[in-house]
């Protein structure tokens, strides 16, 4: 499959999505949304792997890495969600400005 991809635009898109993910993590107070930001970040990474695989003519390698990242993303999200649930049970809140207590 021959495919002309403008790698500059691809890269820009990847960076923009990653930047939005970081922005989400850093500015949102709700921990669910922070986790979503993390998910967006990993999607950007996945996309970067696949794009790279296409660019260098090794789609198999890119795919494999992408699959690995996807699976890890799922695992991390699951653990993160269970942590949020735990935090919610402990503090009764999911907003980071309500769970600032440094000890205990």
């Amino acid at each position: 499959m021959n495919l002309a991809v403008n790698w500059v635009w691809m890269l820009t898109a990847i960076v923009v999505i990653a930047g939005l993910g970081i922005f989400c993590i850093v500015t949102r107070r709700n921990m669910f949304r922070m986790l979503m930001g993390f998910t967006m970040l990993t999607k950007a990474v996945t996309l970067a792997f696949v794009t790279g695989g296409t660019l260098w003519g090794q789609p198999g390698l890119g795919q494999t890495l992408a699959i690995i990242v996807i699976v890890i993303e799922a695992a991390v999200t699951a653990v993160g969600l269970s942590m949020i649930v735990n935090i919610y049970r402990h503090y009764g809140a999911v907003n980071t400005n309500q769970i600032k207590r440094l000890r205990g």
Partner: protein, 159 residues
């Protein structure tokens, strides 16, 4: 051309995830983002990654989010305003994004033009041949994650 439309749609969904008020809508936007990504993967010649993304990214993760949000009360207070010092954060973030873009571009400078994607290189071959170690690590990650989730919930239940 389709690629650029998809990229724009992805960016739009990402912005929606961040800025929409309702958490559930945000989760749905995240799922949409995953769907667009999986289509893009398919176009880029990675059908297996596309399927994985669709099932795990758009399916499993969305459902996990929804279930957890429904576990937690007051799901609708999720949208918090910018805090008092958000201007600092914003500028910092702008700097971070700009640096990242610059870094990415400067890294990519030596990249050759898009080459012809190899015709459906056998994924299993790569997965079990070259990246065997990664696959092993992957299973360890999954195993650890499930144990972690179990521990987190059991500890809470034991209290």
């Amino acid at each position: 051309m389709l690629i650029y439309v998809l990229l724009a749609l992805m960016a739009l969904s990402a912005i929606l995830v961040i800025f929409c008020r309702d958490l559930l809508y945000a989760v749905i936007s995240l799922g949409t983002l995953s769907v667009f990504t999986s289509i893009l993967f398919y176009i880029l010649g990675s059908p297996f990654a596309s399927i994985m993304e669709l099932s795990i990214g758009a399916g499993l993760i969305t459902i996990l989010f929804m279930a957890t949000i429904s576990l937690v009360e007051q799901p609708r207070v999720g949208h918090a305003k910018y805090s008092g010092r958000s201007s600092i954060s914003f500028f910092a973030l702008a700097a971070v994004v700009a640096t990242t873009i610059w870094v990415a571009l400067s890294l990519a400078e030596g990249v050759p033009g898009p080459a012809a994607a190899a015709s459906a290189a056998a994924l299993p071959e790569v997965l079990w041949g070259i990246r065997l170690l990664d696959v092993m690590g992957l299973s360890v990650v999954i195993f650890t994650a499930s144990i972690g989730i179990g521990v987190l919930f059991r500890t809470e239940g034991g209290k």
